[in-house]
Amino acid sequence: MRRYIIAGFALAGLCAAVSTATAQQPGVSQNPPPLEIGAVAPDFTLPGATRFGVLRDPVRLSDFRGKTVVLAFFFRARTRG
């Protein structure tokens, strides 16, 4: 039984890898490439939140000028990535 479960995961992983690779082929996806090192980080103003609730004031990158800011994009709330 375990063998089938492992095989199932492997197959799912393979499908995910294939679909991701397909989506990233030129022409299929029109997503811009990630910014390069050295590029000016575009300023932004976004609604913010912390564990204490939504923020009254938006989060603005330029407010942190002079600091080191880690921008960590992720897929979706309450999922692993």
């Binding site: 811009p32 990630p34 050295g38 575009p42 994009f73």
Partner: protein, 114 residues
């Protein structure tokens, strides 16, 4: 995100001169709710229309979502380091991120926190 929370103290031991902003297309209410339930110690930002994801090149192949790209913006306002994608569940990814941050933060700040 849970791994970010668990690694946070180590990653951000350099104090107030380093800020983490976690960004997704979720509404701010969803981010606040999740942050409360998981006790995230960091800032979150809601990129509902994917403007910021598009500007940084952090859109997922699937429409409507950002991906797991990570960018470190230095004090000069430029991209100083990036992980494309950031492997959130890999401990080594945090080691590399921590090392990158330590190189970026001005040396006088680092010395002051030792």
């Amino acid at each position: 995100m849970n791994a970010y929370r668990d690694q946070y103290a180590q990653l951000f031991r350099l104090g107030r001169n380093v800020v983490l902003i976690a960004i997704s297309a979720d509404p701010d209410t969803a981010l606040a709710s999740w942050a409360r339930d998981s006790e995230f110690p960091f800032l979150m930002a809601s990129d509902r229309d994917l403007t910021v994801g598009r500007a940084y090149g952090a859109l997922a192949p699937r429409p409507g979502l950002t991906n797991r790209n990570l960018f470190v913006v230095g004090p000069d306002g430029r991209i100083a380091w990036r992980a494309v994608p950031f492997r959130e569940v890999d401990p080594q990814a945090y080691v590399e991120l921590g090392q990158a941050i330590a190189r970026i933060v001005p040396s006088d700040t680092a010395a002051g926190n030792r």
